[in-house]
Symmetry: C2
Subunit: 199 residues, 2 copies
Amino acid sequence: MPAESSRARSMNETRERILNVALDVLGQDPDAGMADIASAAGVVRRTVYGHFPSRLDLIRTLTEQAVTEMTTVLTDVTAAAKPADAAWVEFIARLWPVAHRYRVLLALRRGEYGTAIHALLGPFDERLTNLVQQGQDTDVFAKHLPPPILSQLAYSTIFAIADSDLSNGIRSPRAATITSLLMLGVPEARAIALVDDQG
Amino acid sequence: MPAESSRARSMNETRERILNVALDVLGQDPDAGMADIASAAGVVRRTVYGHFPSRLDLIRTLTEQAVTEMTTVLTDVTAAAKPADAAWVEFIARLWPVAHRYRVLLALRRGEYGTAIHALLGPFDERLTNLVQQGQDTDVFAKHLPPPILSQLAYSTIFAIADSDLSNGIRSPRAATITSLLMLGVPEARAIALVDDQG
DNA sequence: TCTTCATTGCACACCAGTGTGCAATCTACT
DNA sequence: AGTAGATTGCACACTGGTGTGCAATGAAGA
């Protein structure tokens, strides 16, 4: 890789800082404006527009990052050709930090940029649907819902749990795994859930 | 009941029409403006403001209606003192048309009026949490998540299924019941789900 | 030193939505 | 006929956010 000049490095740092801060700020208020993001990043609004021509560009970049990371995880997991339930468990385990980081996308998917985000998420959704489909075909997952809806529901739930996770970050990934397995209709999940005493 | 004058009746009709149409319009776009609602109701924007002083008033009214109906159902169901799983099944069955009608509230809960809606929904959420709590205490529901989160998740899922229900309105209530039972950790739901062949 | 360029601090235009004011109109009721 | 009141049509002010233009600043790089 070509060594970056100090200037270019500084610019990249600013850019990354904006992106990171944007995830935070939008996470607390999905309707936060460019001004909020800018000031939280210790920068002027005008500067943000220097890096991202429009608000949509910013959000699209965030979404693309999320999609890339999530797709990588899903591809890795499905490459092993394990049974669908085992694949799912591994998927959630590795997806968790990503889902937690990009949990705001769940809210952002509704509203102004919904269609743009949905489009970017499309290929990922498709792959995930395939996994659920395969699980149903091999009688590992229940068939109470068609694969497209069931997969959406399951991974929306993951994000929802990640979103309600403003305090206990430790037990949540386990809870997310169990909850999703349960709603996918994996009977063994019940036994696991029973061991997991919370109250 | 005192017989309404034709004028008063006409006004009420207009008001009801606005409310009904608002559910539709907001259902398709939660960010729809007063102008969209007005024209969809065959009325001028100014008239809407005659019935509802502000956008918040309109949405609050819708929310109050929803809360009232949902609370009625929940109160009825829990009054019988059945086991939690049986109560839940009956609850969803009777909740379904209400959830389907007010499905937009799921999206509306985020965004500008989120706190107002959340406040109105508070008492209902509390009652629902109690039901889930009771289910966990009697080992009918699993304990993978604390009652407040689990109840939120379960009934959000109901609304989500109702929201994705733009075509097949028949099988959905059954699917919603099964899905929620599964995520609540009711093992018998699996058997029911297996009978319900979709593919 | 001189140049380049990211950043800054304003300015501005623009847009979309909200909520209000008021005269005009049309219709039900008296 | 006459009145009350719901509705209309238009005007307006206000808000809050977006995106742009441009000169000034300051620091890295030649």
